[in-house]
Symmetry: C2
Subunit: 546 residues, 2 copies
C-alpha cells in the first residue's frame, strides 16, 4: 500500500500566475504540483513500495553500520565516509546531541541502517567501471533497516535513496516510511561533461559538482580538460603544454595532485573520471608549448603564422602522442580515454604544400577525411598500446576510421541523432548519446521537460542494436559558463537526464516527475547546492546560506 | 593625449575557438578583445580625457577627503560611508598597512582625492529624485585629485568612476593616469526591476544587487514586490495580506524594518526605490488576506470558488485601497509609486452577474476596458490624494484612462514598442522603456549585444516627444529566478542597459564596449559579484571566493 509522502515538503506553485510576458516562448506545459506517491525520490528506483507505516529518526541514536555479514567492514573507508556524508545530509550539520540521549527511543523509531555487501569482493578499493554492479536492495523497517548490495557502488546509490526517503513531518521530526526498494540502472554510462578549457574551473567547483552528481546516481565525469582556448592539464612529461598553453601557468592549471584528488573524490562517490584529450582539431592551446605539433597554415606560398590541426605527416607528432598518452594512461585509471576527433577543419591542411605532397604520396586525392583517418588510425593504435579503450566523437566513425570492436562512439549532432544511432549500432559499436542534452543551450522556461522526454532507444534498430546503447551524457560546454554560473545552470536541468538514464523506460509521467523534481530541487538547495528554480515556488528551508 | 590603459587587465579571448556546437544560435558577432583607450570605464562617461602620465596609489597614504570648500563635511555620513566603500574597492580588504609607512611617497604618487560638493545644499540627507543633479567633474592629478559635484548624487557616481580608473600595473601596484572627466547621465530614470513575488528574494540578495547597481550608475530599483503567487510585503495596516498571502508569514516576508533598510541602503548609493503594487490584475495573493477584495468568478449561475481581478464595483474596495496606499505613501519616500495596471483578464468579470449589472447601470455595454478604466481612474485619484505621482504599465494609457500630466507610462510590449513610444509621447506623457530589456528571456550567446544596440529614441517623433523619454528599466521577472541564480543571470547582461541609459547616444562601438565590459565584468567578480562570463576567457583575480 502506497501513501502520499512528504507532508513537510509543501511547495506552492501557481501555474496560472505567469506575469507580464507577451512573448513567452515556453513550449513546455505548465505543470501543477501535487505530492507524488513516490515522495521526492530522484531518479525513481526501478521498484519501490512505500507503506503507510512511518518511523522517526533521531540524530542521537540513529546509526548507519556495517552488517555483520558484510564483505566490507570498518576498513572500507569508502563506505565509512559515505555513512558520515549521508548522516549529515539526513540530519544537517548536527554537532552535539546529548539532550535526553537514549531516553526517547520508542517503538516507532528507526535505530539503524545496516549496509550489507553481499559479494565476496566489495570492490571497496577499486574503481568503478562501465560494467560495475550498481544494484542494491533497500528494506526500511523497524528497528533495523537493511541495505544489501553486491558491491560498494550499489551501496552508495542505496544510501542516497535512503536519504531521499527521509522527510520532516509537520513538527519537523525526521521521519521515514517502511519501504522496500529494488533498484539498478537502466544504462551503465550516465555522465556529465564539463569543459575546463574555455573557462578554467576551480577544483572546488569540480568537486562540488561530483558531489551533486552522486546525488543523482550519475557515474561518469567526462572531463573535457583541454581545448583550443587553454591547456590547464599539467603534464609531467610535457610541462610546457600548460606552462605556455594554460590561461596562467600557476593559477589556472590542474596539477597532478589536483587530478588525483578529483579522481579519488569521484571514486568515493562511484563516479568514473573519463578524461578527454581531443585531437587533431581543438588543439590551438597545445601548439604553444609543443613546437611543430600543429600544422603551419599557408597564405599562398608562405606560412601565414597561424596554425591548424595537429600535423599528421610528421613522425615527431606520433612520438609526442605516444609519450603523452602513455602519461595519460597512468594518470587516469579509467579503462577508457576520450580521444575527441570532432570538427576537424581542413582549410589549413589544404593550404600547406607539405601536406598536399603527402596526400599525393598516400594516394588520398583531395579527400582530407582520409588524412584525418590516417592520423586517427595511428592515434588509436598508440592508445591501444597503453591498454586503454577509447571513446570518440561520432565524426571518427562517420569518416570510416577502422575502430576496435569495443570502441564507444559518442553521438552529439542533434539534427541526425536518430539515424546516427542506427548506423553506429548497426555497425556493432557501443554508443553513448549526448545530442539532445547540450545543456549549454539555454532558453526561457522549463527546458528540463524537453530533456526528460528524450527516449534514447527511439531510433530504428533491432533489440541487439538497442543493447549497444550504454548510456548518455549531459554536456555543459564552457563558452558562457564558469564558476559564477555553472551550478545553477546545470542543476536541476541535468537532473532530468539523470532520471532518463537511470529509471525504467516506462517512467515518463511528466506531472509526477515535476512534483518529485520540485522537492528534489529543494533538497539540493538545502544541501547547499544552488540549483535554480523550476517555476514560481519556494522551499521550506531555502536561502539559509544566502 | 589618450593611451592604452590597464596593462594588468590582460584578458585572453579566442573568438575563433568555439567548440562543438553545430546548432549555435548566436546572432551576435564574435568580438575580439583589444584594450580600449577608455580602459575599463563602464558606463562610459560623457567626456573623458586620459593622459599618459600615471601615478601610484598606496593604501597607507591615499585618502579620500572632503574638500575644504565642500558643502558636505564629516557629518554627511552618506559620503563618509562612500569613501570607505570605494577605498575598499580600490585596495581590497586592507587591514594593516604600517610597512614603511610614509617612507615611499614619491613625486609620482597620488595622495588624495578631494570631494567637493559645490551647491549650497548637498542633499546629503535627502532622497534622490527623478530630477536630481547627478553630474560631476573629476580631475585626477598630482598630488591631489578633485571630484566636484553639485550634489552628493554626482559625487557618488564620480567615486565609482575614480575607482574604475585605478588599475594594477604589471607589478601589481595600484596605478591611475592623470585624467579629466566631465559626466552626467543621458537619461534620468535608469532602473532594474526585480520581482519578489514569484520567488521570495532574501534581503541580502536585494542589498547586494543595489550595490552592483551603484557600480553601474543605475538609480532606480523598481521593486515589483507583490503579485499573484505571493504577497511578501508586511503591511502594518493589513497584516493579514502577508500573513495569509506570503509564501510563509515569517520567513518569506519583508517587515517594515526590512523595507526601511532597503530604502536607506539604496539612498546611500543614490538609488530610488520605486515600489509596485500592481492592480487590478496580478492580485491573487491579495485575496487571501483581504476577503471580498477580488471578484468572485462564476461558473454558470454559481460562484466557482475562484477569484479574478480586484472587484471594481464595491465601495469596500476603494476604502481598502485608500488605507493601503496611504500606508504605502508613507513607507516608501519616493515621489512615485508604480501602480501596475497590466494584463487584466476580463473572463472572471464577464462571468459575474453583479459585475454585468453594474456594467449595464454605468452604460459600459460589453466594453470591459471601460470597467478597468473606471477602477484605475478611482485608484489614481486615491493615490493622487497621497501626493504621490504614479507610473503605470502601458495598458492603462492604451485603454484611455484619464491620466495626470506628470504620469509616467511604462512601455513593455516589445512587438509594438516603437509605435507605443510615439503614441505615448505624442499624447504628452513621459515614458520609460523596458520592452527590449526583458532579461528573464534567456538564450545562448552574447545577448548583451542585443540590449546594448537598442536606441531608446529610435521611434518616430518630434524632438519634444523624445524629450519625454526619461529612461528605461531592465526587467528580471521572477518565474525562473531566485537567490540561486539571480546575480549571474542579471550581470553583466544588465550592464549593457546601464551604458545605454547613461552614456552619450553616440557611444555605440560594440568592439570597444566588449573590451571595456570584459574588464568591467572581471572587476565585478573581483568585488565579489558572481557576474557570468561574456565569452571564453579568464580574469586575473577570479575565483578567490569560490
Amino acid at each position: 500500500m502506497t501513501v502520499l509522502l512528504g507532508v513537510a515538503f509543501t511547495l506552492l506553485t501557481l501555474g496560472s500566475c505567469w506575469g507580464h510576458q507577451p512573448d513567452r516562448l515556453d513550449q513546455e506545459p505548465e505543470l501543477a504540483f501535487q505530492p507524488s506517491k513516490y515522495g521526492s525520490l530522484w531518479p525513481l528506483p526501478q521498484k519501490v513500495q512505500i507503506s503507510e507505516v512511518s518511523f522517526k529518526l533521531s540524530s542521537s541514536s540513529f546509526r548507519i553500520t556495517d552488517a555483520k555479514e558484510s564483505a566490507a567492514g570498518p576498513s572500507c573507508s569508502l563506505l565509512q565516509q559515505a555513512y558520515r556524508r549521508y548522516f549529515e545530509y539526513i540530519f544537517g550539520d548536527v554537532k552535539t546531541q546529548n539532550v535526553n540521549k537514549g531516553s526517547r527511543k520508542g517503538p516507532a523509531e528507526l535505530l539503524e541502517l545496516q549496509v550489507w555487501i553481499t559479494s565476496p569482493d566489495s570492490e571497496c578499493d577499486g574503481y568503478p567501471t562501465v560494467s560495475s554492479d550498481e544494484s542494491y536492495e533497500l528494506s526500511v523497517d523497524q528497528p533495523v533497516s537493511v541495505l544489501k548490495a553486491p558491491k560498494v557502488w550499489g551501496a552508495l546509490h542505496g544510501l542516497e535513496t535512503f536519504s531521499q526517503l527521509v522527510y520532516e513531518d509537520e513538527y519537523g521530526a525526521k521521519s521515514i516510511n517502511a519501504t522496500s526498494v529494488s533498484d539498478f540502472p537502466r544504462f551503465a554510462h550516465r555522465g556529465i561533461l564539463l569543459d575546463s578549457s574555455r573557462h578554467f574551473l576551480p577544483i572546488k567547483v569540480i568537486l562540488s559538482n561530483l558531489e551533486t552528481m552522486a546525488m543523482h546516481k550519475f557515474n561518469v565525469f567526462h572531463w573535457h580538460i583541454v581545448d583550443d582556448p587553454s591547456f590547464p592539464y599539467l603534464s609531467r612529461t610535457f610541462p610546457d603544454l600548460s606552462r605556455k598553453g594554460a590561461y596562467h601557468p600557476y593559477t589556472h592549471v590542474y596539477t597532478p595532485t589536483d587530478v588525483k584528488m578529483v579522481i579519488e573524490f569521484a571514486r568515493l562517490r562511484g563516479i568514473r573520471v573519463v578524461s578527454e584529450f581531443d585531437t587533431p582539431g581543438h588543439t590551438q592551446s597545445w601548439g604553444k608549448g609543443q613546437p611543430d605539433l600543429l600544422t603551419p597554415c599557408y597564405a599562398g606560398s608562405k606560412p601565414s603564422g597561424t596554425f591548424g590541426p595537429v600535423n599528421p605527416i610528421l613522425n615527431s607528432t606520433y612520438t609526442f602522442m605516444r609519450q603523452f598518452f602513455k602519461e595519460v594512461s597512468t594518470v587516469f585509471p579509467d579503462a577508457y580515454v576520450h580521444l575527441g576527433g570532432d570538427e576537424v577543419d581542413f582549410t589549413c591542411w589544404k593550404s600547406n604544400p607539405d601536406i598536399q605532397k603527402f596526400m599525393e604520396q598516400q594516394g588520398f586525392g583531395q579527400d582530407y577525411r582520409k588524412l584525418e583517418s590516417f592520423y586517427i588510425q595511428k592515434l588509436l593504435d598508440i592508445v591501444t598500446a597503453t591498454n586503454k579503450g577509447y571513446i570518440i566523437w561520432q565524426e571518427v566513425f562517420d569518416n570510416g576510421v577502422k575502430l576496435k570492436p569495443d570502441t564507444v562512439v559518442h553521438v552529439w549532432i542533434s539534427s541526425s541523432a536518430n539515424s546516427e544511432m542506427s548506423n553506429v549500432t548497426a555497425s556493432g559499436y557501443t554508443t553513448i548519446l549526448s545530442a539532445p542534452w547540450y545543456l549549454d543551450y539555454i532558453s526561457t522556461g522549463q527546458d528540463w521537460q524537453k530533456y526528460y522526454k528524450v527516449e534514447p532507444l527511439s531510433f530504428n534498430g533491432t533489440e541487439k542494436q538497442k543493447n549497444l546503447v550504454i548510456g548518455g551524457e549531459a554536456c555543459l560546454w564552457g563558452e558562457y559558463v564558469d564558476a559564477t554560473n555553472l551550478t545553477p545552470r546545470l542543476w536541476p536541468r541535468a537532473s532530468a537526464v539523470a532520471e532518463r538514464l537511470w529509471s525504467a523506460k516506462e517512467v515518463t509521467d511528466i506531472t509526477d516527475a515535476y512534483s518529485r523534481l520540485s522537492v528534489h530541487r529543494c533538497r539540493l538547495v538545502q544541501r547547499g547546492v544552488p540549483a535554480q528554480p523550476l517555476s514560481p515556488s519556494f522551499c521550506p528551508h531555502e536561502y539559509k546560506g544566502v
